[in-house]
Assembly symmetry: C2
Homo-oligomer: 425 residues x 2
């Protein structure tokens, strides 16, 4: 960052979480942004900035932009329906037939446009997204995200077994297409990057996973997939890979488990051994509470994983999850953690409001670098929040305003967005 | 119902649940209303109605009005905050101090106006509501509900032990005031009726409960209270009433358990003996899923209770629950039932969409008489639903539209409301 970079100053009620332990709040405070990055947050503006114009948001809240670590853009048209089944039959009945439609680029453009608009409206400034096996449709999605200026990783999905013929790739074709897609994307976008995306172990042969691991390494690309979401899925993986110690071990064997930056979605039913490898390999967990309840997958032990210092962010997981609204995903995260603590009577405490806020911002943001917090040197991603409609009687404290926002917040509360120092229009 | 009553005919996609087993759907059907009540639902309009003008709602959905069996109007200002505590400390920290403010009639009017407006906007046509100990403020609430035309039972709360001095009534004063309030209400309202409302066992002495039982009997008034919400509460009740077999038995002893029509809210941790008495005494359960998760109370075995043919409806339970939106309460009901089935691995299956729809309409409606369904002779309470905003791509089947509505529906989807045959304005 050059010293000469343009300086922006915003004033408002500034809320972020440097750690998951508590809120950092500056009431009627100032946030100084130099170029893309934060210079500092101040309760009283330092003398040296006194001649710079201030964008005064009054009593509004200024919070970091949301980071959505796991979602499936091609499932956008089937959100909020078909939750009568668990993972595997749900994929077969609803999801695979829908994803097969994305061979049609016109259909892809229609759905992806709706998806990207909604993602943008919901205040998600950073996202990690599954496409389908169709590389051309996936590029349409990437083009649309670039146009909106949403910082994102997008994956062309790979699958060469245990799926309908409409989605089953020839292994070598899949590899070739992936390389071509990766090279095609290189340097094409400012905000959007490719991510290697084996769907999940049951739908990828060892050969395919091995080659994808090589591609990730060669092009230094991150990896995303699903891990230990549903008990039947886990059993199936055991049958498919009896040589591996556990589900995570299959990815690890093929260098898809932290060898480059990796996100694993769900992680509901991890063994202690799996947790140890996740931590050692610095694999990032995308916690998807809405999906985990809708598909009856279970309740992930997030409080326990946070204590072990595993890196965790939140995922909306459309369409297992019904909504891209990250306020709602946070509320669901708290609720699920309460039920875990009630049902299993373990020593895990329910998650606190700062903890879920941290997960939705800095927790996931770490995958993107210095993102998701208002600390010095962090990229300035922010949402300006008008919550007047939630306080018809008399406004509470900043902490209470954030709590109520988590339960009721929606796109209409977001009145301005910043990504990496610039207003998102 | 006189044969000469005015006839109204509505056309649209008519959805209701005569039983919890499945939807009764009439696509582009007709609903014939004679006076207050339903004459019939028809796929093809009978010849005899051919000269009557039809209110044509086109592709919109027509569903029964919502019934909210349990909610606390004076807690409206603290919804969506303070969910870091379980029931008893939550009451002491947040709820009792807030309720104490309702000695001030101006404050009561302010909050109750917001509450009633919101209840109305959310499409709740029938509700059973707690006030506070303050009989004058409670009458303000009743006046406001009457003005809006919401059919409701409202309770002046009684409590004479284990609460702050600001809310503790002298037992005889409490009884005297209750009688005066009941007599004052008699014949005053068209839509609103009094209901006897001991807060819950811990805050009512045996003497007070006994006298309230007598009042309920003498004036033939229904009763509402709380039952077996939280494990600590249940332990406390055991200590307070060691002579009683269980929590429910305390109410039963004082004729507050089905001797007149009775609603018991929560019922999360019932014994088999309690369930048997509930069924025998025809006590109605108000299931409050949002509150049960927010206050970490637990997951009520609704699927099991439905199978035993216990009468159940839904309660928003403001402010243990965060919202009066009954779509959201239905979604929460499904989600909680999935987690119960996942966590406890019992034979209980998750609730289906028709089951929760039934609970939110006919299940609770039975408390009001023939209410909550579009069967012949039922009072015509209905909501006309425009769900176009939920289907940006292409509309699904009627069942899918109802499912998505449960996950995303809100006041803006409700474009018209009927109560007992008349439009609610």
């Amino acid at each position: 960052m050059k010293k000469s970079s343009h300086i922006n100053i915003l004033k408002g009620n500034i809320v972020h979480t440097e750690t998951s332990k508590l809120f950092n709040i500056s009431k009627n405070g100032y946030i100084v942004v130099q170029g893309n990055c934060i210079e500092g947050v101040y309760d009283k503006l330092p003398e040296r900035y006194k001649n710079i114009e201030i964008e005064d948001y009054g009593d509004k809240l200024i919070i970091p932009g949301f980071v959505d670590l796991h979602t499936h853009a091609p499932q956008f048209a089937i959100k909020g329906i078909g939750y009568d089944k668990e993972l595997i039959p749900w994929l077969e009945t609803y999801t695979f037939p829908e994803e097969a439609k994305f061979i049609d680029k016109a259909y892809a453009e229609k759905i992806y446009k709706e998806f990207v608009n909604e993602l943008y409206n919901q205040g998600t400034t950073r996202a990690v997204i599954f496409g389908t096996i169709h590389e051309e449709s996936t590029e349409i999605l990437m083009d649309l995200l670039e146009e909106k200026g949403i910082s994102s990783y997008v994956g062309k999905v790979n699958m060469d077994r245990n799926c309908p013929d409409t989605l089953k790739e020839d292994s070598n074709e899949s590899i070739k297409k992936t390389i071509k897609w990766v090279e095609n994307c290189s340097g094409k976008y400012k905000f959007v990057k490719p991510i290697i995306t084996p769907r999940f172990v049951p739908s990828c042969t060892g050969y395919l996973m091995e080659e994808l691991g090589k591609i990730a390494e060669k092009y230094n690309l991150p990896v995303q997939s699903h891990l230990s979401e549903n008990p039947s899925e886990i059993e199936w993986v055991k049958e498919l890979h009896p040589d591996c110690k556990n589900y995570g071990d299959v990815y690890d064997k093929y260098n898809l488990f932290g060898q480059t930056k990796t996100i694993m979605a769900h992680c509901v039913h991890l063994t202690d051994e799996e947790i140890a490898t996740i931590k050692k390999n610095e694999v990032v967990i995308a916690h998807c509470p809405t999906s985990n309840v809708n598909l009856s997958s279970g309740i992930s032990p997030i409080s326990k994983l946070l204590k072990k210092d595993v890196q965790i962010g939140l995922g909306s997981d459309i369409s297992g999850g019904e909504t891209l609204n990250m306020f709602a995903v946070m509320a669901s995260t708290i609720k699920m953690s309460k039920l875990r603590s009630v049902c299993f009577k373990e020593e895990e405490k329910p998650l606190t409001i700062p903890e879920v806020f941290y997960l939705a911002t800095k927790g996931g943001g770490r995958f993107f670098g210095k993102v998701g917090s208002f600390e010095e040197g962090y990229e300035f991603d922010a949402l300006v929040i008008d919550d007047d409609n939630l306080w018809k009687v008399s406004k509470g404290s900043i902490e209470e305003r954030v709590e109520r926002l988590i339960y009721f917040g929606c796109e209409k509360n977001i009145i301005n967005k910043y990504l990496s120092g610039k207003v998102l229009n």
